[in-house]
């Protein structure tokens, strides 16, 4: 079942067309939303939340129409915005409980739930302090907690690792991965940090200029035709390149001592070939793997078309 179905959606901001004739079916699981600045990602999220009226076309989130059932959608959807936001004058527990109450939970349930969710997001004793005293990492966790408190079926995360140090980023991505793969919450992540998306998402949507330019399952998009292998040597080695060429491979040097080899199809085991070539050339192989397009490559290709 698709989490969101969009059909010929057009959204305008005054004279500017932010989204043009967009049609897509967003699958369940963890979906990445990519695109250059101004591509319409934020507009799409706002439209799906029911804030913006489409000029044309239809959209449905969890089976509910975007144009008329915005309130019901927001009941089942959580948003973790990019910018800092909180309710002034409250500590974390009160804030998250308040957010729950605003979503319709009775007071006692909201408080209990707030504690549960704050625990899950990793906020310990700090939850009794005023939110305004928090560090960036804690603020990000609070934003996630307020998005989760009412048990949404779909989560929108806008730059979830914004401002976090490497440890914090790790934890946040683990949380997102756990939510989408372990707890059955559908997640849509919008981010400029492609490794974050690679780590958490299974499907991507790439937007540019208000249109969808690429969509698909990441593993599928990464597949590269032919037999291609990425090799890393200890030091760049000309003899190695020559040895590989003798075996009928095309050699393309990437950064430093990394190479991309395109081998003839139907030949012998590529690993064997390159280890033999390296031995001949006296080069030390530090690693090799079947070549995959990185998400960055996929993105660049999609955007530069």
């Amino acid at each position: 079942m698709a989490v969101a179905t969009i059909s010929h959606l057009t959204v305008r901001y005054g004279a500017k067309t932010a989204i043009e004739d967009l049609s897509v079916e967003v699958p369940e699981g963890c979906v990445g939303l990519l695109g250059p600045n101004g591509a319409g990602k934020t507009t799409l999220i706002k439209t799906l939340l029911g804030f913006l009226r489409p000029a044309a076309g239809t959209g449905a989130v969890l089976g509910l129409d975007v144009a008329t059932q915005g309130l019901r959608i927001r009941q089942r959807v959580g948003l973790m915005p990019e910018v800092d936001c909180h309710i002034p004058g409250m500590n974390a527990v009160t804030f998250v409980g308040y957010a729950g109450e605003l979503a319709g939970m009775p007071g006692s349930q909201a408080l209990r739930r707030a504690h549960e969710v704050l625990e899950y997001c990793g906020l310990g004793e700090a939850r009794y302090r005023n939110v305004e005293t928090y560090s960036t990492g804690m603020k990000q966790r609070i934003k996630l907690a307020q998005a989760l408190v009412h048990g949404p079926r779909l989560l929108f995360l806008d730059e979830p690792t914004n401002g976090l140090d490497p440890a914090g980023r790790d934890e946040m991505l683990n949380l997102v991965r756990d939510l989408s793969h372990g707890k059955g919450v559908n997640v849509i992540v919008s981010s400029h940090l492609l490794p974050d998306i690679e780590r958490t998402c299974d499907w991507v949507l790439v937007m540019r200029g208000g249109k969808l330019v690429r969509e698909g399952d990441i593993a599928g998009l990464r597949v590269v035709e032919g037999v291609q292998v990425d090799v890393e040597l200890r030091l760049p080695s000309e003899p190695f390149e020559a040895a590989m060429r003798r075996r009928g491979a095309r050699v393309f040097r990437q950064m430093g001592s990394r190479y991309r080899l395109t081998l003839a199809e139907g030949g012998t085991d590529p690993g064997r070939q390159l280890l033999e070539a390296a031995k001949e050339a006296g080069a030390q192989v530090r690693g090799f793997r079947p070549a995959l397009r990185s998400l960055e490559d996929i993105f660049m290709e999609a955007v530069e078309e």
């Binding site: 915005p81 936001c85 909180h86 605003l102 319709g104 939970m105 349930q109 048990g151 939510l179």
Partner: protein, 326 residues
């Protein structure tokens, strides 16, 4: 129960509990009272401020003072000294005097309660949190308004209620109830008018600022400057020649300010004619004046306009964060 989210999948029993995240499958309350949750949060926030309680205490004093005046019959003595008509609505007069006396303190209380109501939200980007919930802009607006209105109303009304009960106990025999059976209603209405006007205008100022201080400063400026301007205009045009139309116009002019509209409407609600002494320079002797309440419809019009403008201004500013163009 609203918006059923459905039950979670059944989990197999295990001796180790799974304490991590789970969906919410509990009851949900109705959507009709979401605004009350917003209001309650605002009220709780204000109750925590120590200055609020200080001001609330200070607002007791005008009524306390009137109570003492009544007890000591000081108002009758004053009346006799000034000459003029016998005091008919003695008690109503006391309540109105206390109400006017309380106005400035009430204004400060309203400032404290209302200035930060939406301005703090603007600064903290709270609107993004609010609007991503299943509540409407009207819920938010209503909740914020009530969150300012209620504290101001209670601070205005509670001392009046105390005085009313005191009078009821002490002066019923002397015609307290007979004189004006609707007095309690009038008190409620007068306090509500004050609360409504302050709440609407403050909300308007608050929603247009990013800091509570700015909002408070703007409202204070509006209140005080309008009061000063109306006062000056009043004393320039006032001649007190005696003709009743001119008198009515002069009274109206002095009431053309925020505070003036509040007290003007209150005077209309209390249905009082004020007695006052002026010194007429030409005749070189004190003149006794009777000040009728200012023109009702004008006052009502202005009051309603203030409420509507305040609310409209606020509503314009309530929207989720703008997408930057380009």
């Amino acid at each position: 129960m609203d918006f059923d989210l459905g039950p979670p999948a059944a989990r197999p029993a295990s001796p180790i509990a799974d304490l991590s995240y789970r969906g919410y499958d509990g009851p949900l309350s109705t959507r009709l009272f979401r605004w009350w949750i917003v209001a309650l949060a605002g009220i709780r926030l204000n109750l925590k401020k120590p200055w609020f309680w200080v001001l609330a205490g200070l607002c007791l004093f005008p009524y306390l003072f009137q109570g003492i005046t009544l007890l000591s019959n000081a108002d009758r003595t004053l009346q006799a000294l000034m000459g003029g008509n016998a005091p008919e609505a003695r008690y109503t007069q006391a309540f109105f005097n206390a109400f006017s006396g309380q106005q400035f303190l009430l204004f400060i209380t309203a400032l404290l309660v209302g200035a930060s109501s939406i301005a703090a939200d603007n600064r903290a980007n709270a609107l993004l949190v609010y609007l991503s919930r299943p509540i409407t802009k009207n819920d938010y607006l209503a909740g914020k308004w009530v969150g300012v209105f209620l504290p101001v109303f209670v601070v205005a009304f509670f001392p009046a209620l105390l005085l009313y009960l005191f009078c009821l106990v002490s002066y019923t025999s002397e015609g307290f109830w007979r004189d004006d059976p609707w007095l309690l209603g009038r008190i409620v209405l007068a306090c509500a008018i004050a609360g409504a006007i302050h709440a609407s205008l403050l909300l308007g100022c608050s929603s247009w600022s990013k800091t509570p201080r700015m909002a408070g400063a703007i409202y204070a400026a509006l209140y005080l400057v309008s009061g000063i301007v109306a006062g000056i205009a009043g004393s320039i045009t006032t001649v007190f020649s005696g003709s009743s139309e001119e008198a009515a116009r002069e009274i109206l002019v002095t009431h053309l300010s925020i505070g003036g509209v509040i007290t003007g409407l209150a005077q209309n609600v209390y249905h009082l004619t004020l007695q006052s002494m002026r010194f007429n320079r030409r005749a070189m002797q004190p003149v006794h004046l009777e000040l009728a309440p200012p023109a009702f419809w004008v006052m009502l019009g202005l009051g309603l306009a203030m409420v509507v403008v305040g609310l409209a201004a606020t509503r314009m500013r309530i929207r989720a964060v703008e997408v930057v163009r380009g």
